[in-house]
Symmetry: C2
Subunit: 298 residues, 2 copies
């Protein structure tokens, strides 16, 4: 399939959505964009995107609509609300609009949205990402998708313009569930890096002595590799903010409660991220968790 | 320096000490061995080692004495006790016996032993390892050493026969401190792997879908790489036992208390390992921590 034969729309032009839109343009997709605030729409229009006036207009102009929004309620509003995507379906360019929600939202909400989309004759994938704004810019995101296998296959050329590792995870909601596992893991590894740095610091062992030893064996983690030295130096420029990680862990813990499972380590990291946000430091990188661990031993 | 010009002794011929002794023999060092029980001495004598009747006799026959024992009290008994290494110093082959304690013990105890050794005219390194029995057999241990730099340099040919990554960490105790950081990290990463596997399992996501996605990004850990699939399959053959990891974390937490620092995540893993041991499962691999996380959601 040639890329100029698939019209793509993207809704949500933030730190992630804007560079993803640029990569779609670069790949040759006719692209329609919309965002609540106007400035990023105009920036992308200057680069060749078509500016829409609403989510509904995006849907009317597109075969595939991508949403990249902060949280579940945002996605619900854009898909189901007035002047939303599902309102635009009857006017859509071709039947069977494919919605790809790349936001990180609750698996329960995404399942409800899959059902709503199906009831209006649309197809849907939940396809959250990891890799942050750096990955979004480089087009190297990891994308984990849930939905019908045929819809995943149809979405391949579009997803390939934005990501490198693109994994079909299973039925509706599976992308969000795997993303939840990812956020659990990153959260707890951050705790581990924080405690080992804390111990080394107080014991008088330099991070540049300790880190290479740990990275040479079973203790090796990608978080230590990418952030260990910066954490030790208290450099917390995001990256991925404490606020967003906290939001993701809220979703994880709600989902865990619905499943009847205890995640004591994840819960403790979530509480620490709450403290960071309450302190007004939610815009720091999530690795600022280290300062909370330090504070506990002050 | 030719290897046959350094006489080496090794005390403690368990799962780690025996394969380390074999690698010393293979490298051409004249080797004297001793162990509390007789069988492993005889096994190594059949392979070319000289059997000693006590730790004291090992010291008398050696330029370098290695200890590889379960815990601090064992090392104290072997070094300071009757018929121990320091008793044998005056009879030693050459002056300035170099003691290399490769056990994982408390940094405070190791500092005391360094001082005792110095007061008898001996040199000492604390040089705990990571890499487990597999690394001991392959001669690929990571070795982290504390003590005088000159003694570390002198020990290089001996250490190189047993390990691959050999790091000088700083003054007496530094090897144990870096090992403590390593055990903190492995403990908390095990908790992260356990919670993400737990979440995936209950959510109906197969480990072979989840694991590669996490390993492709920031969530990547060596514990997941080596043990994730086995944990999901409840295969807990050691490896490194829960009992030994619990012992190491007891040392970490005692040291942290002396330094006035809180390690809440490490403490929680230590409590879970206690439960495993109390259940009579201390001989399982430490990754059986996963079963405690599962039990909390049963």
């Amino acid at each position: 399939m040639k890329h100029d034969s698939i019209s793509v729309g993207i809704i949500g032009l933030g730190r992630m959505g804007t560079p993803m839109a640029r990569n779609l343009l670069k790949a040759g997709f006719p692209l329609t964009v919309w965002n609540r605030s106007r400035a990023p729409i105009e920036a992308l229009a200057a680069e060749g995107a078509r500016a829409a006036g609403s989510a509904r207009q995006v849907a009317a102009a597109s075969d595939v609509v991508i949403t990249m929004l902060p949280d579940g309620p945002d996605v619900e509003a854009v898909l189901l609300g007035p002047d939303g995507v599902l309102d635009g379906v009857r006017e859509a360019a071709r039947p069977g609009l494919l919605i790809i929600d790349m936001s990180t939202i609750s698996p329960a909400v995404t399942r409800r949205l899959h059902a709503e989309a199906a009831s209006r004759g649309c197809r849907m994938l939940d396809a959250p990402v990891s890799g942050g704004d750096v990955g979004a810019q480089a087009g190297t995101l990891s994308i984990m998708a849930g939905g019908a296998r045929a819809d995943f296959d149809a979405a391949q050329p579009v997803l390939a313009a934005m990501g490198r590792t693109i994994t079909y995870c299973g039925p509706p909601g599976s992308g969000q569930l795997v993303k939840a596992c990812n956020q659990i893991m990153v959260a707890i590894v951050l705790a581990g890096v924080s405690e080992s740095l804390m111990f080394a610091q107080r014991a008088g062992v330099a991070p540049d002595v300790m880190i290479p030893v740990l990275q040479g064996g079973l203790a090796r983690t990608q978080v230590m590799e990418l952030r260990g030295a910066r954490m030790a130096a208290h450099e917390f420029t995001p990256g991925f903010t404490a606020s967003l990680h906290r939001k993701d862990l809220r979703i994880v813990l709600e989902t865990a409660r619905e499943m009847g499972i205890a995640l004591p380590f994840t819960r403790q990291v979530a509480e620490m991220l709450n403290r960071l946000v309450e302190r007004g430091q939610g815009d720091l990188d999530n690795s600022a968790l280290f300062t909370i661990v330090e504070e506990m031993s002050a």
